[in-house]
């Protein structure tokens, strides 16, 4: 039942870090047969200081904007030498949503054989909690001190427009689901994208033992939606499927928001705005799921 570990104990990750937690699961799902490309992010720190590394797989650190392109080159190298295994980009939402979006889009459009995984903690945590394109409306960050006034964008949906063979969303609250999605992605060739909601205790301001609970609440309240798009066919998965089928009602979003210091200043109107955004996304994704 228990596979070998590729993420070694004693890393430099914060207490309760979702990036460490999820990467550990992913590397097990890949049985260590992966080259991990890490752009500037918490993960470039978590792995530790030369001459040691917390990862027991090959790792190549990349410049912030360049990870999908670096992965392109590495893939070509592995192919040339006939080495089997995945080239995995392990990037945060900064490296995915913002500075790295161009190279991500380029690699996706070219159909590079890469597994791109974004751990989305909805902010730039490595530089100490600044807003990103993935930061939700209302959230406090050091560059949105009064709460962010714009809703987040959605890179998984942008990737849908790239017609890549596999897209999935996952959450640190459902690690078995993440494991299964990585296993599934592994069986597919071409550009694959998995985005994980990664609740960050110091950044979101919640107790460090609540990472998993927060990842679950996000899905239970419909604030994060689990789905898969295989060859253009979209379907809800896990708890989001149950919600989409109307078998379970979404929890009140306040249950999710009130546990996070970053939302402590929200007004009732702010909360309604977040709710409206959540409902619009559900409508959009339900239409998308019904279309096909």
């Amino acid at each position: 039942m228990i596979e070998p570990e590729y993420f070694l104990p004693g890393s430099a990750a914060c207490h309760g870090c979702p990036a460490a937690m999820c990467l550990r699961v992913i590397l097990r799902a890949l049985e260590g047969k992966a080259v991990v490309v890490v752009p500037a992010s918490c993960s470039s720190v978590i792995t530790g200081v030369y001459p040691h590394s917390a990862l027991n797989v090959p790792v190549f650190n990349s410049a912030f904007a360049a990870s999908a392109a670096v992965a392109t080159g590495i893939r070509a190298g592995l192919d040339f030498y006939g080495e089997e295994g995945e080239v995995v980009v392990w990037a945060g939402d900064g490296g995915t949503y913002d500075i790295g979006l161009q190279s991500l889009s380029g690699a996706a459009e070219r159909g590079e054989d890469i597994l791109y995984i974004c751990y989305n903690n909805e902010m730039y945590s490595n530089t100490g909690v600044q807003r990103s394109g993935a930061t939700p409306y209302g959230a406090w960050t050091t560059t949105t001190v009064g709460g962010k006034r714009e809703h987040r964008k959605d890179v998984a949906e942008i990737l849908m427009a790239h017609n890549v063979p596999y897209i999935a969303t996952a959450s640190a609250g459902f690690l078995n689901d993440l494991y299964n999605k990585v296993r599934k992605a592994r069986e597919i060739e071409g550009f694959r994208y998995i985005e994980i909601l990664a609740p960050c205790p110091p950044g979101w301001r919640f107790p460090m033992d609540k990472t998993v609970e927060m990842g679950r609440l996000a899905v239970e309240t419909g604030m994060w939606i689990l789905y898969e798009v295989v060859e253009g066919k979209m379907r809800f998965t896990g708890l989001s499927k149950v919600i989409a089928e109307g078998k379970r009602k979404m929890k009140d979003i306040k249950e999710y928001l009130k546990l996070q210091g970053r939302f402590s200043h929200l007004s009732e109107e702010d909360i309604r705005e977040i709710e409206r955004y959540r409902d619009r996304r559900w409508e959009f994704l339900k239409r998308r799921a019904n279309e096909l």
Binding site: C14, G16, R24, G48, L55
Partner: protein, 280 residues
Amino acid sequence: MEIRIHGRGGQGVVTMSKIIAEAANLEGYFSQSMPFYGAERRGAPVVSFTRISEDPIYRTSQVYYPDILIVLDPILINFPEVFSGLGESSIAVLNSGSSADVAKKVVFVDATRIAIEHGLVVAGMPVPNVPMLGALLSSEIPISYKTMLEVVQKHFGADERIVSSFNEGYKGARRKTCRFTKMHFGHKGVMECEIPISTPSKGVAGRTGLWRVVKPVVDSERCNGCMSCWLHCPEGVIVETEEGIEIDYAYCKGCMICSSVCPKNAIKHESEMGVVQHAH
């Protein structure tokens, strides 16, 4: 006067250093607060330097021979290198319930306990810097009670918890003369690098078990072996053995996620610091 503060990410080392410098300036001194930024995460060791002088300060380097050494993290007291550069006249200000023979003059207070009792806890970690600033007044720092409190309030607000935890640190601080032997540290070897390639290793951030404030302890009576703790552990320190679940305490950081995901409530919180923890 040169001050060096040791602590961990999240304990308020840098803020403390800044408050001291600001207060010294209000007392009419030139001052400087200089954090050393490693690539620290929450929980990792952090150092900051403060200089106070009657003359303009031109030094931009780190503090190697501190007049006052402050240790915000009780665990760090066990590391001799934290006390490097202390001389006969240096003072150590420790976050500790008891004294230690680390300097001739030692000031100590259990600031973690005070922080927890006053709810100064962020993301599960006690932040002991305010009571420690109170305790610092018992050293030879040329800052008055009034000025220090003024700057503390400027940074943290006039919240009752802040004022009373500051006062408790101030009043609770004990000063003791200890046995002191000057330590000498050899130079570390030079690290060579031709190609920046590293090899896998456990403990890249050291023995991260030392980051623990709370310790997870498995109640084997209750455990049903579902391995949810193993699945969710961010560090991978939980293993299944013939005897049941085992935790590698050398590296377990004590985030307590294992406890929060345990369906049988079989992982208990045990304090590492002699402080009562709220139950799960």
